[in-house]
Amino acid sequence: MAAPPHLEFERDMVELQEEIDKLLEMAEKKEIDVSRELAELRRRLGAMREDTYRNLSPIEQVQVARHPRRPYTLDYIQRIATDWIELHGDRAYRDDAAIVGGWARIGGHSVMLIGHQKGRDMKENLRRNFGMPHPEGYRKALRLMRLAEKFGRPVITLIDTPGAYPGIGAEERGQAEAIAMNLREMARLRTPLISVVIGEGGSGGALALGVTDQILMLEHAIYSVISPEGCAAILWRSAEHRDKAAHALKLTSDDLHALEVADEIVPEPPGGAHSDWDAAGEHLRSALLQNLESLEALSPEALLDARWRKFERIGAWKEDEGDE
């Protein structure tokens, strides 16, 4: 197997893995028992992984969230759902492959599952525009959410996008209006809504799937108003300061849980979701099942009321005394 692309801070782990592979190969060739050495190396690797991933800096979190081997929406759907059937098109302009959606079954629940979809290789990325939607993507998502509402099914969205696409066509076809309309309409859908940031929660393009009763984040996902590169370019006048911007923006799951934007952090396997897709899917599935159970117990009125209150509270401000 070719070595997977790895990040700078993963180098020691990759080297250790290579050592293990070599030992295995040698043992096979010479038919000797290396199980004790092997166990020791594997234990060291596990400890190293856990330690590294527990102490990632914000910019390292960003790199993990964008890891090219990280599972994407369709990878999760394969692992957490059955009876999946994808639905296409916004009924107005075209089908945007940067957002996928359709019916799926999770446990006993029939749900509408919608998510950003990045491509795994260049060809697929061109088709999926690197997971950056055009207006018709948001409009397709809204059409599918309304379909879910019509049949009393919950909506689950998986968020993973660098952001909205800055292009001429996207502006001509009103991406601002499309995002805004999703925000408003999600706020009044009479069915349970759950969003999970599975990788990159990039600004308005992410939020267009994010006005939900529960906001979950995978452990190494990020959610931000602007990319650290974009923020650094503007405020530090150079994208090279992205590590400082990543730190200042408070975009990790821990930060956002503390700021009460994320309701829940979904744990990832040691070494991140990309190191074990099945285990990552298992964690996600059980978190979704729990949330589905509790939200489906509520009436549409109670859901809406709680959703409005939730978003009404978000933010932090001071108020001088004596003013209304």
Partner: protein, 284 residues
Amino acid sequence: MAWFRKPKKPIQASERRDLPSDVFDKCEGCGEILYREKLLQNLKVCPHCDHHFMFSATEYVQVLSDEGSFEELGRGLRSADPLEFTDLKPYAERLAAAERKVGGGEAVVTGRARLDGNPVALGVMDFRFIGGSMGSVVGEKIARVGRLALEEERPLLLVSASGGARMMEGTYSLMQMAKTSAMLARLHEASVPYISILTHPTTGGVTASFAMLGDVHLAEPGALIGFAGPRVIEETIKQELPEGFQRSEFLSEHGMVDRVVDRRKLRETVCLLLGHMAPEWRSE
């Protein structure tokens, strides 16, 4: 054919005239020198080329409400700097500087007002305050003026001018898009009219939330309105943008705004619309 080769005298850039800056203004549109007083009487629209000069929040409040009727709300709201954000300069310093510049307040002014004697809820953004960016305070003030409109059944008027979400409050700023839109969802359900007035410039998270959620969208002529900024788009697609891209007229052509309205007609247009949409509206 000697005339053909005659060296042409390059056209001289009009000589710089030093003008007393408190009496005259030079039009950014046509270059005409304008008496400031006349320009003010004309609502800061150039009488020669109709170029709309930037208008302050106070000026819009004057245009969109009866004299002395505006009752400001939420003036005491201040950013709490929740991330303790520092880039090249601490956010706290930027806030203090912006407050000095506009004389207190934030990037939006909100309150109750009367328009031709009718009650309205009014919010006007102030681009001079950190580029009219939306952080927690702007989101909260918009949400409150929306709630006021809902509870007192007042038509809502919001005038936008913004560079987008305020980076220095991170994801909280992003979430103000959701917060303001959620409030507008309630207004929508209660059939309280909301007119969005888009002025130069309105971009980013403000466009992609309350500014694009009006029952009617009115845009001032020549205003830059979009989601992504033109420079970001140019850098992404590596080509020059077409003339007039993301201007009000372009948005009108693409069906994103109902009308492009000259500022001098703004008040009467709003009143005409509310005469149709607000059940209790009385025309003067």
